[in-house]
């Protein structure tokens, strides 16, 4: 049983969970890798154990989210100007588009942003989203409806430009 669910995470959820970690870390790849290392360490040390009550995917996404929150809290809030590296590169068309969707999504409030990602990107149902975000199903519905309206408005505005 123990190895079965871990095996399922490693084989079936690895890709989606990494992308979720990346989204929880403001799309920072390095931070997402750190978070996934911490999450896998929790599994190996038995600090995070699946008890079978919830859906495995929602449980694992919840672990990733809490780990990402803890990780981001530890980061320094200010960076010395000496540590900042400026890289000027020419961006391709796809990168422009990639930046574009991030730009649109980051205009949404955090909760709406996360609810829409979990529903439309990770194909979770609303009650599963409530488990991942550890909030009530009513709040999820509210964030879902408002998020959709706001995102649609942003996309319509984007298409009009």
């Amino acid at each position: 049983m123990n190895n079965n669910w871990q095996e399922y995470i490693y084989t079936q959820l690895n890709r989606g969970s990494y992308l979720w970690a990346r989204q929880c870390c403001s799309y920072n790849d390095e931070h997402a890798k750190e978070v996934m290392q911490m999450v896998y360490l929790k599994l190996l040390e038995g600090k995070a154990t699946y008890n079978g009550k919830a859906n495995l995917k929602t449980w694992f996404f919840s672990v990733i989210r809490f780990t990402a929150i803890d990780f981001l809290k530890q980061l320094p809030t200010h960076i010395s100007i000496e540590d900042v590296e400026l890289n000027v590169t020419e961006s391709s068309e796809s990168e422009v588009y990639s930046d574009n969707y991030l730009e649109i999504l980051t205009q949404l409030p955090d909760r709406q942003h996360q609810v829409l990602l979990l529903v439309f990107y990770h194909n979770l149902k609303l009650h599963e989203v409530a488990e991942v975000l550890n909030i009530g199903i009513g709040s999820v519905r509210t964030h879902y409806d408002r998020g959709k309206k706001k995102l649609k408005a942003l996309l319509t505005k984007e298409m009009a430009l």
Binding site: Y18, G46, Y101, K148
Partner: protein
């Protein structure tokens, strides 16, 4: 599905397509079982190895080039021995002042 959802679906689908170029880091390859504490086992194995190595490679004591054989044999005594090996007979004894009597 209404048109609002369709627009959002398309948006996230294009986002997924963009994310396909993102490489996923490999899953840790070590054992999935709970981590064991190997320290006591490693100490025991090291001590055992040292013991076996000492027995096998024990330093040899230097061996002398010659041998000394000591044989103990009982001493055979066939006759009793006189306690006085040499002595002056009483008949041969001469007084130190005898010459005075004879000369004077």
């Amino acid at each position: 599905m209404n048109s609002e959802d369709r627009i959002i679906e398309d948006f996230f689908q294009s986002m997924k397509d963009q994310d396909k170029k993102i490489s996923t880091p490999p899953v840790p390859t070590h054992s999935h079982n709970k981590k064991q504490n190997w320290f006591p086992y490693s100490v025991a194995a090291s001590l055992l190895f040292l013991g076996v190595a000492y027995v096998i490679f024990e330093p040899q004591k230097p061996v002398a080039d010659y041998t000394i054989n000591i044989t103990l044999e009982p001493r055979r005594v066939n006759a009793t021995q006189s306690l006085v090996d040499a002595g002056i007979s009483i008949e041969e004894w001469e007084s130190p002042t005898q010459s005075l009597i004879e000369d004077f």
